[in-house]
Symmetry: C2
Subunit: 333 residues, 2 copies
DNA sequence: TCGCTTCACTGATACGTTTCAGTGAAACGC
DNA sequence: GCGTTTCACTGAAACGTATCAGTGAAGCGA
């Protein structure tokens, strides 16, 4: 009720006998005398004045917010990433505007443009469709840092790149070394683009390693992949191992296996990719990325770029292998 | 580079020979002739005009955004909730500004006020400290819908209430019926308030059921609770069952148990609370809430309230029991 | 003393919309 | 045919800040 109207900069100006401009300068620590500084500070405190972020955004074109556009938040690892980035930004007094493209390129475009209109100071994105044209325009009007694999053709301010080729090789070699020959590969659904580097690499590597693979797309989350996995595991010639291109997908395989009365790793080996915190509990052997390092790198890059301090840096993340229990040699049949 | 400046409403006005005001009205479908409507639509399309959300927010005081202030995003179930709410809002052409209080009441206050300054049209909150004073002021200046247990003393526009008393009773009765007498209770860390209904109820119920309980606070996430659980499980008189006040905490117990070579449920029974998707995979017996229903209810209430359509509604969620494998009768020792 | 620079501050305008108070014309009731 | 509504629209004033182009005074070197 009481609803006291907020104090404006004009009132602070009046209280101190200065002009609004001087108050504005003082509050942002620019070129004012020590005495004025003090007076303004005090008056602002007394009036409970705080600059209106919307008016500030309109006038200055900056908001202090960083947009975070996730490829698909159905993926648990991406959830962790989003939470981590939100937290890291907060520690730098920036705030994240988190949006979810839900795997849809059209939505990705809409949201990205919307974020720009919201005057975010920078954008962190895990592109669904890295080949889309609008990224170039977007990167011209604000700092963009891309996280992931196939990136934005050098239009970005910066990139945190996963060495997925290496990751895939590690995973497949591990599975091969455990004795598997017939392995299914479950990848997240992505827009059909002529070149999907990771998938292409999977096929090439499988060939090199003499693996008989079967690549399928399996949605983004646990539920979708469970369905696909059910189809896969009920076939007469079911694979002895499944390599999932995200831990979330692997969880779906666990679910499907459980429902079919199959056990991991005795009846089917499962190899993951990401290393979500839950994977430890499930004993999922998986490719590991340094989530914390990725978060820090992305935040550092976007903050620097939004301050005009840096240009097009590229940080490459190396994968590790978390060996747990879910991949064992195949049983004789 | 090219950076063509955005079209403004003035340019559309000029192109149509109307006043900016008329264009503004037309674009929002208010009181204009059919012909004008058409002309404006066409001109806007040709110029690629879209209203600037910031300017709009400054002038109208509305943004179309809904703030979502989570108690602690370290909790996986709250992550799911946030993702779900974000998605549901998007379906109503609203967008969520998701912030994480990280269990800190001071931060919660700061962020809530910040959200108001951002002119969100409404606020969905899982309060860390429901007793805090500022909620009253806040609810006076914008629609607030609270999700959870101990709520905001009627200051809110609406509430989605969990019947935690019932949930706790169900959980404890189930554990008792399985034959457990000595059970530990792990609750999330909350600010110390004189009355914590749920905890108080836990103690009362335990007494009624003749349970010997040991209540401990265990952080919010998997990592913290694992540490607490390790302490608990290495005691000579370790409890035969652990009731965790969130599935995330239960996961921590699994982790601790795994590291100690203890197995669930043979060596220790674990009862969860929330029913996160992963709990199915782990076979965690848990109290189940209708996440989807909660999401829909919260979004519906906040959207209605932000449109000035509803006042103080209260929706009560009933718990269910998901019986899985993690609670079995205690082994003789 | 003079000119030049630096400093601290002011006045005005810009940012791009919404919205309030009209305004003239047409429609309407009687 | 006259007063009253309604309609479609206009002009101008918000909204609350940042910032640009000055401005007067002080400081400085020669």
């Amino acid at each position: 009720m009481a609803q006291r109207k907020r104090a404006t900069i004009r009132e602070v100006a009046q209280a101190t006998g200065l002009s609004p401009a001087a108050v504005s300068y003082a509050l942002r620590g620019m070129q004012v005398s020590e005495e004025t500084m003090q007076r303004v500070r005090q008056a602002a405190a007394e009036l409970g004045y705080e600059a209106d972020p919307i008016a500030r955004a309109l006038a200055s074109g900056r908001t202090g917010m960083i947009g975070l556009l996730c490829g698909s938040l159905e993926d648990l690892w991406q959830q962790s990433l989003a939470v981590g980035i939100g937290r890291a930004l907060r520690d730098k007094d920036r705030y994240a505007l988190i949006l979810d493209a839900a795997g849809d390129p059209a939505r990705e475009r809409t949201l990205a443009l919307q974020l720009r209109d919201q005057r975010v100071d920078g954008l962190i994105v895990q592109p669904v469709d890295p080949a889309a044209r609008f990224w170039a325009d977007l990167a011209d009007s604000l700092p963009v840092v891309a996280i992931g694999d196939a990136l934005l053709h050098g239009h970005t301010a910066a990139e945190v790149v996963f060495d997925n080729r290496r990751g895939v090789t590690m995973a497949l070699e591990y599975v091969r070394d455990k004795g598997h020959r017939h392995v299914a590969v479950l990848t997240p659904t992505r827009p059909s683009t002529p070149d999907r580097p990771a998938d292409v690499h999977v096929i090439a590597e499988a060939e090199r390693l003499g693996l008989d693979i079967d690549v399928r797309t399996a949605g983004q989350g646990l539920a979708d992949s469970a369905e696909v996995a059910t189809g896969l595991l009920t076939r007469p010639d079911r694979p002895t191992a499944v390599f999932c291109f995200s831990d979330s997908i692997a969880y779906g395989v666990y679910k499907a296996a459980g429902e079919l009365g199959l056990s991991v790793p005795q009846d089917v080996a499962v190899m993951g990719y990401d290393d979500h915190p839950m994977s430890e509990l499930l004993g999922l052997t998986t490719v590991n990325w340094d989530l914390d390092g990725i978060v820090r790198a992305a935040v550092k890059l976007v903050v620097a770029a939004s301050d005009g301090k840096a240009h097009h840096r590229r940080i490459v993340q190396a994968p590790g292998l978390r060996e747990r229990l879910s991949v064992q040699p195949p049983a004789r049949r």
